[in-house]
Subunit: 274 residues, 2 copies
Amino acid sequence: MDISEINDAAPTSVEEFRERLTEVIDDLPRRLRQCAEYIAANTDRIAVSTVAELAAGADVPPSALMRFCQILGFSGFSEMQRLFRGAYAPGWPDYATRLTNLKQGGAGSPSALLGEFIEAGRASLEALASSVDEASLHQAVEILAKAETIHVVGLRRAFPVACYLAYVFEKMSVPAMLHDGVGKLDHRFALRPGDALLAITFAPYSEETIALAQDAHDRRLPVVALTDRVSGPLAKSAQSVLTVPEVDFGAFRSLSATIAMAITLAVAVGSARG
Amino acid sequence: MDISEINDAAPTSVEEFRERLTEVIDDLPRRLRQCAEYIAANTDRIAVSTVAELAAGADVPPSALMRFCQILGFSGFSEMQRLFRGAYAPGWPDYATRLTNLKQGGAGSPSALLGEFIEAGRASLEALASSVDEASLHQAVEILAKAETIHVVGLRRAFPVACYLAYVFEKMSVPAMLHDGVGKLDHRFALRPGDALLAITFAPYSEETIALAQDAHDRRLPVVALTDRVSGPLAKSAQSVLTVPEVDFGAFRSLSATIAMAITLAVAVGSARG
DNA sequence: AAATTTTTAGAATTTTTATTCCATTTTTCG
DNA sequence: CGAAAAATGGAATAAAAATTCTAAAAATTT
């Protein structure tokens, strides 16, 4: 490795670190690449490991890891570790303590339940952050932004989400219609050419929602699905399928991730329409 | 400190550690208590700090911290740290990075929005964990568990929550009635002696909800409020006020914390009724 | 294929960090 | 109040970890 390739400015944030890593990883000699690959896959352990431990994990001698740190711009391992030890200040401080206390209230107690549901919600949100398909999201926004009237359908457990969407669309002056199934009336003929359908359903999937989506699809209207599996029953009628990984506790789901996704859709569509 | 009080079995999990900590914290001499308090408030930093750093933070000499570790049952600081370094497997290897990536999609892009809403949701849940008033929660569950029929009211942005509650009550075979304001009908006379009202509203508070709560209160029916401030307009009509600290992004709220609280109520009430 | 450069491994060294020990202070109890 | 016990601070020591250095091995170039 040529000395001129060494960017001597050390990364000052975890993101910069990752950028730098992807930047150099391809033209690194064998041992150093081993380091880079192991580190890329175990970035989170830098803060709590020693050189020897990481080196053992990467299956290289400690000195190789030292050289690796220096190539990344750090003076040595300690400096690199300092970055990660500093950056590590996540939600823990009070939260974890309280959560433990809540759960200690005894199994079945309201506090313990609350602790569980909070955790389920948080896990769902985190999973959503790491699993979202940006392309589908983008496509969904485009479809809905182009539509004249947006029809929203979601029943049973998905109904709250549909309601919230209807509320936000209203607030943003987006023409939207909520299909709520009141009086078992279905308003399928309210879908006019130029409209789009946003269908929300989770296992066990609601018949009416699937039927409405199918109907819209048959009439060549674009359908966006918000559901739990790419291959669910909405897959064949929808142009764009958004999946949310919702973590259940007991028989109930938190809806956190679903609502985050829903509100994002609504706001993005609202602003795209100007 | 008497030697016999020293439980020489070192904690083997973070939970055990916390239990042990609360167990001993009260009968500890001054310096050691300082350690205990600092450690309790900064548990998350044990994995990434040195004795000297923690001691400085707690404002005690390093040797005090060492004695503290030993009182907890560890052979020394290193052994204690090992516990936390092992347990340290937080959500951020993937989550935090992804979140940053999402936000980098550019201000106003769907991904960036999603990132913001995810964060707002997470923050809300964490705040809920540390702010919940267990006594009120317990009281609320008791009130609702004793009621014959539970009436649920929540309009506008609170409507999704009310719907979800109605759904969960239904699933748990709890007699509940959702006051949805369809057709501007109010069903205030559906509230019978022995019933209870669960009223949900957030600023700007919905007139109808406040009025119904007031009405119920006037007729001596118990009211549980789910709202955003203890001193909100429901304060005087409600027996039990549950507050949820919801973090907004832009003009929109995540509802995560509210839903977590709602579902907890519903499930706790459902099981209390057996 | 020889010469040059780069890369590597591991031992030696330096630095940092943890731990112990004991003289001194504070607290407790008769 | 005074003696005994417990707690404390800090210096001394031991252990662990980081870092450097060099001879040998690979890789590259001519």
